[in-house]
């Protein structure tokens, strides 16, 4: 009997020891590294994430690393991290410039910094002014060095391109991304502040009180056609829509090189675009790889994130970045094609940089911008037909209210409700004095009757052409859940009105259409939005808020 017990014990110990030995060779799961990163490096990172995941890389503890990436505006993403709506392992914004501001915000509710130490750079690219080559040449490029001040002069000149012998190009149309969402937007308004003061360093809080700066920024911002959520997406719009849409925009050098690579290989039929390196100095987009010092990041995620970081900094991946127009962070890799004049870049530039201001000065510049930004004249055209009943009308109401709260006091807003009738809930006047009243009215909207989509859209378009201020961004947001059932005008009437305004290029009225639910006619809404330079969105009660958020970045 004793022997049996012993033999069972021995067998059990054998099993245990075998298990303990095996556990060290069989991976006991995966560890996920979530990365939110600036969209301008999506073309580089996306395939590398796939390649890394396919290789089933492991941590020191033998767990398989799975990397998940999301491209998002750099400032938008960190605001999400600070508010807790985003909880990634790694934040890789377009530059380090906003890190001190992010740390200051984070420390209002946490003991430690969100970003500690000196994060490594993944790739580099200078912030440049992207301009169509014939336009740059008209300004004297490449023999004459151009700067932020030249852009400001052009932006504020009443003659536009006529002053440079090109009346056919119309007004100077300028663009940068929204500073509340995107790194290049912040960088643009800091550079404007420096140019307004004639400084290159030493910006102080007191400087921001100078009326000279406010006037200067207001003038430059007046030439903006619209803002945008992220630099990569903004570059796409410029290169898709061409010179009639935008004359110049603040982008990163790599986006210009990538566009020129496409053009030279026949994948884009646009005219050439070049990088202008502002003579007063610029900033670097240095793509820091920040493993967050946040409670939701585990030790094993930090290790795994470190493995992915080393992979990205290895020579083959750095060479891939060069192919796509980035300057590798690895100093051993020489700057070579496509970083050359043939691709719109000059690797010997920039010659100097602007000093990165303190966190408080950056926040001060953001406040100054909200006072000087180009206001929007906006008409929201909302379907309240009977089919909107239930979830649809409830979420449409609440998301519209949140959207209204995001608009600035100086923005002018009109809201039209359409069903069998078209009624104006509030006329096109400044929002500041009527905001609460508008919110109260929106909360009382209910559904009834038919769908007069074309009549309502056409009427809003014609009224905005008549009543809108051409010095403002002018836009219409159309939300509908069904097909037109009762209009006297047709789709052709609406599209003709939009096409008739094509001469205004990027300054024309933008129409954003929201197909709300499966019954909406997406084709029709695309035909309305696309020629205006706006955008068509497919939406549902689940994501309507996100769509309104995206539209808000244009203003």
């Amino acid at each position: 009997m004793k022997l049996r017990v012993l033999s069972i014990l021995t067998a059990f110990s054998l099993l245990l020891s075998a298990c303990s030995a095996l556990s060290s060779v069989i991976p006991s799961g995966t560890v996920t590294v979530r990365i939110v990163y600036g969209s301008e490096k999506q073309a580089w990172l996306d395939p590398l994430i796939k390649q890394f995941n396919d290789a089933h890389n492991k941590t020191a503890d033998g767990k398989t690393i799975v990397v998940e990436g999301t491209a998002l505006g750099s400032i938008e993403s960190v605001n999400g991290i600070i508010s807790g709506t985003l909880q990634p392992t790694v934040w890789s914004p377009a530059s380090s410039i906003y890190i001190p501001v992010a740390n200051a915000e984070w420390k209002k509710t946490h003991a430690d910094d969100l970003v500690t130490g000196n994060p490594k750079d993944l790739v580099l690219s200078p912030v440049v002014i992207a301009m169509w080559r014939p336009m740059a040449q008209a300004l004297g490029w490449p023999d004459k060095a151009l700067g932020w001040a030249d852009i400001a002069n052009l932006a504020t000149s009443a003659d536009g391109w006529s002053a440079y012998g090109h009346p056919e190009w119309g007004q100077f149309k300028f663009g940068h991304t929204h500073p509340a969402y995107s790194n290049s937007g912040i960088v643009s308004i800091i550079a404007e502040t420096y140019a307004g003061l004639g400084k290159q360093r030493g910006l102080t809080d007191a400087d921001l009180q100078s009326p000279q700066v406010k006037d200067f920024m207001t003038q430059v911002e007046s030439s903006i056609i619209h803002y945008g959520t992220s630099t990569g997406f903004f570059g796409d719009r410029m290169f898709q829509n061409g010179p009639s849409y935008l004359s110049a925009a603040v982008l990163y050098e790599n986006l210009i090189v990538a566009q020129e690579t496409k053009r030279l290989s026949g994948q884009s039929s646009q005219i050439p675009v070049v990088a202008i390196y502002p003579k007063e100095g610029t900033f670097w987009s240095n793509h820091p790889y920040v493993i967050l010092n946040a409670s939701w990041v585990t030790a094993e995620q930090k290790d795994a994130a470190g493995v992915f970081e080393s992979f990205l900094l290895d020579k083959p991946q750095q060479l891939k970045a060069l192919e796509l127009g980035f300057r590798p962070a690895d100093p051993a890799i020489p700057l070579a094609a496509p970083l050359d004049t043939q691709h719109g870049a000059d690797p010997k530039q920039p010659q100097t940089i602007l000093e990165i201001p303190s966190a408080s000065v950056i926040e001060g510049i953001q406040n100054l911008w909200t006072q000087t930004k180009k206001p929007v004249d906006l008409i929201v055209v909302m379907d309240i037909s009977g089919s909107m009943q239930g979830d649809k009308i409830t979420t449409a109401r609440s998301s519209l209210m949140k959207f209204v709260q995001k608009l600035d006091d100086r923005d002018r807003l009109r809201i039209d409700l359409f069903s069998s009738d078209i009624n104006t809930l509030t006329p096109l006047t400044e929002l500041g004095s009527k905001r609460q009243k508008v919110l109260d009215s929106v909360s009382g909207i209910f559904e009834q009757g038919n769908t007069r989509l074309y009549d309502a859209t056409l009427q809003a378009y014609q009224d905005l052409q008549k009543d809108g201020d051409p010095k403002h961004i002018r836009a219409i947001v159309v939300l509908t859940d069904g097909q037109d059932t009762q209009s006297s005008s047709t789709l052709d009437d609406v599209v003709s009105a939009i096409n008739a305004a094509q001469g205004e290029g990027g300054n024309s009225i933008k129409v954003f259409t929201i197909a709300f639910g499966g019954d909406a006619d997406k084709d029709v809404l695309t035909q309305i939005a696309t020629p205006s330079g706006g955008k068509e969105y497919d939406s549902s009660p689940e994501n309507i808020q996100k769509i309104y958020d995206d539209i808000a970045t244009f203003f």
Binding site: T10, A11, S13, S24, V25, A329, P350, T352, I353
Partner: protein
């Protein structure tokens, strides 16, 4: 109870096999290794290795990682036990902090200079009741590589700023160039913006600390007798010093990454930086691939990074580890390792029989950039007493640290 004989035999065989597998699993945890290990290793475990853990400063990372492979090829043993070296890199001052707060218990510390060893000697005496290092004890502390702190500029800009050589008052020149509101415009180059200088964080990195020490000596135009009151009681000095430091946007934690940034960002971001001669030599070729030639300047009075390797006299270091550590240090100071340090990484060997300007050495290749083999004409500054070193560090920490 009756037990058939066959059952006995089976039981004994089974038990032996089970014990064998169990023992093997204990000796060699990864099962795969057990599966492929020769049978004798299952029965006689290999002698346990003697671990030599080394906390070292980042500047010598590439060299150490290269020569350690050659060291391992010599199959070093102590009393039949194999020697295994584990390397961990850190900033020079961070090494001291990690040892003092107990988060690391290394066998060897190797910061960038004897400055940190002197500081660790004092601090460990008060922390542990005995000094765990002694820079003067040649049995436990050895300088392994030499390289001076130098100024490295982009040649195109250096030609405009200094030409062949700055004046003897180089640190005062630097201050004046940095604070000049006209910047490069005052030298007919408005396109270069303001003048930009970089050094590392003196609280973390030795080269940053050496820079502010040389700067302070430079202000007083002397090479010895620096006192705490020179730092704390002279408001003109403080104003001058803080003006220089406030022109620097960010202080890197370590010298290698600062030099990497000098090269990867180029002259737009750094006109010149203070780093080690070896760091600069190792990047001289890379610079040409990015933005152009570098130019080196030796300050009018110098400080040396001597890369001491010190075996700790601590209760966590066994006599076996001490012997193993000595074996490792002997290899590092041997001719082959020292030759690699010179030829590939630009360090000055402690073995003076190795010629610096031998054909193909970086000193030979980059002589035209201003690198010099013979620096005997340049005086070294005196290393001040521990309290003066700490005073300067504290002053920087209070007034400059971001």
């Amino acid at each position: 109870m009756y037990t058939p004989r066959i059952n006995w035999v089976l039981f004994v065989l089974f038990s032996l096999a089970a014990i064998g597998v169990f023992a093997a699993a204990l000796i060699s945890p990864p099962f795969r290794e057990v599966a492929y290990a020769p049978a004798r290793e299952l029965i006689i475990p290999p002698p346990a290795p003697v671990i030599v853990s080394v906390l070292y400063s980042t500047e010598k990372e590439a060299w150490l990682n290269e020569v350690i492979i050659d060291f391992e090829k010599t199959n070093p043993t102590i009393n039949g036990h194999p020697v295994k070296v584990e390397l961990e890199k850190m900033g020079s001052w961070e090494i001291n902090a990690a040892v003092l707060d107990g988060t690391r218990k290394p066998t060897i510390v190797s910061p960038a200079s004897s400055l940190q060893i002197a500081a660790l000697q004092d601090a460990s005496a008060s922390q542990f009741g005995k000094a765990i290092v002694n820079p003067a004890d040649t049995a436990t502390c050895h300088s392994v590589l030499m390289t001076p702190l130098v100024l490295i500029a982009w040649k195109e800009r250096a030609d405009v700023l200094w030409g062949q050589q700055p004046s003897a008052a180089v640190w005062r020149n630097i201050h004046d160039a940095l604070v000049n509101p006209q910047g490069w415009a005052s030298m007919n180059h408005p396109e270069w913006g303001y003048v930009k200088f970089g050094h590392t964080d003196p609280l973390k990195s030795n080269s940053g600390y050496m820079t502010i020490l040389l700067m302070t000596y430079g202000y007083y135009n002397k090479t010895s007798n620096l006192s705490a009151s020179d730092i704390l009681s002279n408001s003109d000095y403080q104003k001058w010093f803080l003006e220089t430091e406030s022109s620097i946007g960010q202080f890197e934690s370590s010298t290698g990454p600062l030099m990497d940034k000098m090269i990867s960002y180029g002259p737009s971001t750094f006109d010149f930086v203070s780093v080690y001669e070896a760091t600069a030599l190792s990047q001289a070729a890379n610079a040409v691939g990015r933005y152009g030639e570098l130019r080196i300047y030796y300050p009018s009075a110098m400080l040396w990074s001597d890369h001491p390797f010190c075996i700790l006299n601590a209760d966590w270091v066994t006599p076996q580890q001490t012997s193993a550590a000595q074996l490792f240090i002997d290899y590092l100071t041997s001719k082959p390792a020292q030759q690699v340090a010179l030829m590939k990484y630009g360090f000055r060997p402690v073995d003076t029989s190795i010629k610096l300007d031998q054909a193909g050495s970086p000193f030979d290749q980059y002589a035209a950039n201003g690198f010099r083999t013979n620096l005997s004409a340049i005086p070294n500054v005196e290393i001040p007493a521990g309290n003066v070193l700490n005073t300067l560090k504290d002053f920087w920490s209070r007034k400059v640290s971001k």
